[in-house]
Amino acid sequence: MSASYSRVLLSLGRLNFPRLGLQKLTGRFTYATDLNTNSSSGKSKGLPEGKKRGQFGRRNKRIAGPPRTEKMPVDQDWAAVYPSATPFRSNSVPLPVRMGYPVQRGIPPEKKGNLELIKIPNFLHLTPVAIKKHCEALKPFCTEWPSALDSDAECDKHFPVKVKSTDYVSAGPSLRNPSARIVHLRVKLSSLNLDDHAQKKMLKLVGERYCKATDILTITTSSCPLRRQNYDYAMYLLTVLYHESWKTEAWEAEMTVADMEEYSWEGSPSQKNILDILLRMKVEAEGDADEVREKLLVRKDVEEYRDSVMRLKNEGENESSMLQYKEAVKKVLNM
């Protein structure tokens, strides 16, 4: 290839040389420049003069045909052009899209040869018409929904445990995706039969997996390599949690105040304090210490005080609880 090319250049030069008819020196100079320009035009692959090219037997360079968007009728079946996810092909998409940064106050580049359009994922294969067709085609694979399950509440009532996992599809040498093994198991604790102690123990056992707002316990398992194994493990965990929370161990009696979830007023420093204050205030006159305490506890304002303190401690500080505490304190201390 290079040998014939240099031969061409030399003969072109020879043709040019007598035509110019200048002095030898300048002639050679123009010979050289003519060579350069011809080589540059040859490299840029134009077709300068058809006859000259034909003389040296070089075949015409192949030119690209027109894009097939010109032949597409307006009412064609688009799902046939893009049946599946394929990269953007500018000569198959009859839309005048432009994409890219407008350099120097220009316009975004056109779609032909535009890498930006090819890089991004496109959904040309999922037009609404195509999706309808796919749904129609997939209907034979589906079975009827049970008619009794007509609302979410019914579904929750009969099928409280919900299992979720994801399948992944991608183009590559391997079909496997390690994220496909993850299994999420969700269940509402209200649908499990738990008494008070069991509930509290369950909450302690699961910790962060429980969402208080929605009352849903979520168990996510991904430690096994296969999805079936993870599913079995999740079900096993649910079973074990349930049974364990019903059991009462001996050491649970050693629960300290710091372990308790809720604040209980009985036996707390607050109770001791208010009783001491009331005793000193000599609200109740007779009786010895224990009887006086019991009578004090039964009094209404003390009960109100108790409620307000419990509310403050359990719910946290907000406007209404502070107000309630203020009222209760005023009543108890007779202010």
Binding site: L47, G50, K51, G54, Q55, N60, R62, I63, A64, G65, P66, P67, R68, K71, M72, Q76, D77, A79, A80, V81, P83, R89, N91, S92, K133, H134, E136, A137, L138, F141, C142, T143, E144, P146, S147, A148, L149, C155, K157, H158, F159, P160, V161, K162, V163, K164, S165, T166, D167, P173, S174, L175, R176, S191, L192, N193, R227, M235, T239, Y242
Partner: protein, 652 residues
Amino acid sequence: MLQSGQECLVNIELPYTLGFGWTPVLRQQAAETSKESTESIVIPTKKTWNKEAVLQALASSVSRDPTAYPYQFQDDPYLTPRSYAEFQLFSLSQESGRATAKYIVNSNPKFFTKDFAEPHIPCLMPETVLLRLEEVTEEALKERISLRKVKAAVDMYDQLLQSGTAVSKETIHDLLDLICFYCDKDPVQEEAPELADTVRDELKRRKGRFRRASELLKLTWKENNSAERIFNLLPERDARCYSALIRGMVKHGAYAKAFNMYTDLLNNKLTADVHTFNALISAVTGVRETYNERWALITELLNQMTQQKVRPNLLTFNSVLKVLRYYGYFSKTQALQTLNEMKAIGIAPSLATFDHICAAFYKSVSSGSSNSDILQEVMTELAGRSFTCQDPDDVLFFSSAMKICLNGKDLELGYTVQSLVEVGENWKLLGDSYQQSIYYGRFFTLLCMMEHIDVVLKWYRWIIPSLYYPSSLGMSDLLQALDTDSRLDLLPTIWKDIRSLGHDNKPDLVEMLLGLMARDSHSPEVQESFALCALDVKTVVDEKPRFVWSALSLSYITTLLLRANRTEEAWKMLQLFKSNNRVPSEGLLGNFLSVCHSEGSSQKAIELVQLSATLCLSATGKLAKQALADFKLTEKQRAILFDLETTGEPSE
């Protein structure tokens, strides 16, 4: 697990939903009743399907895209083939690339040990093509047979015989099958580089159309080759050995020998199997000359078949019908009789059967109607059915059917055949790309002949160029159809297609196109588009160094340019006449002169007359006279014209 015996638990059942991401994990029991609901919840049983069912269902919702390029090529206007020659070149080069890659992978397995694909794809990993066992054992022989190494297997067998080891019957059968199938030569892939050279030499010698490489490399059964030698050395020969030899002989052209072998078999009181009989029936044409003799031999073979209680199959009947095709006078009756027998036994006919029957009824082009009748009946029988390929000759059915339709000029029947092709997977039975191009070529010719231009154009857009690259004959048929229905305004678009198909180097086609454009004058827009098209023709054709301009083409172009009032370019065309040594017609020059008159350029008129004088045209005198009469001329111009007139006159 959980549910039995735990009454404190509510049903832990899992819902069966087919939403995105929810796994349908389900027991197989049908009905699970809950405790306090009013109606029972019936959970349907899960449907199962095989691995590709979902993909196949989705694929069935997709139809064909008529503007798409053939699927094996890149979807790019630069990289797809635009003519039939390019299509062949590109697809062959793709195949050869794949074959080369496979060859390299198989011959260097040490570089391709890592398996990237999950799950394992066996065809991407190197196959064992190299022999592992070297000792003289039967195992080594079996290995060579399974790797299709004919010569090595024969050598190994000889060595085994010499060493006295006994070889089992199955291995001998396999060995004989191997040798007879490949005609004692190693299969082509083994010796790829050398054979490619021989193929190229063959191709150079035989310039004609070659459809299959196997036609070039037809092997012939040699006298006393390894198969016969081994066969003769066998202590006992059973029917299977005979069958292998007979079929090999028939396959490679030694018909007489095959029949001798068959008589041997009969003498040894063995029964042949159905494949042997099929081979013998197809060999009948090679051993008998006249039709009567052939038919007698066939009937004899068939009788022997029934005597030996061998049940015929589809290929038997197809071979019989293949011989009957050319039987002549009796072919029709015999063919129908064969078909009835086939149905009586219960073998369903395939497309090849029908092809042979239609050919048996087909007499000649002249008596068109009687041919189509049988095809009509065949099509009514086949309507709506889908077929699979059961006989190698099935692929010839559609092209012959379309030939009958074309010769009988029966458009309706042509449509019926096309609708059968469009059923299901029947398009696969159109054969390779060559057969397909024949079929569509005939269909398109039929349409151009008989159908209204709108329908023709609809089909044109549907099958070209995604299914069929028309030849120049097809394009000229289309041009004639356009002419018949006076849709000549579409000619410029057709010219674009002709260009992209690569037919723009055919002078006849170009001349026809230009002639149609130049024949009548049309409305101004159409005229303008014709003029542009003519200019395009000129530029395109100029780039082809070997194109020879004809006088007619040049005059057509000039006429078109004149009609669109492009006088400058028309003037340039006149110069071309001289440089190509062609003579313009008188009418053209007269035309030109009148245009010059309407433009009022007298200098041009003078030049025109001078041009005609240099070309020594007889019309020079008349032109000069007309120019003198019509134009306002200076003295000098008058003088020139007088000269020309006088010089022109004596030559008349």
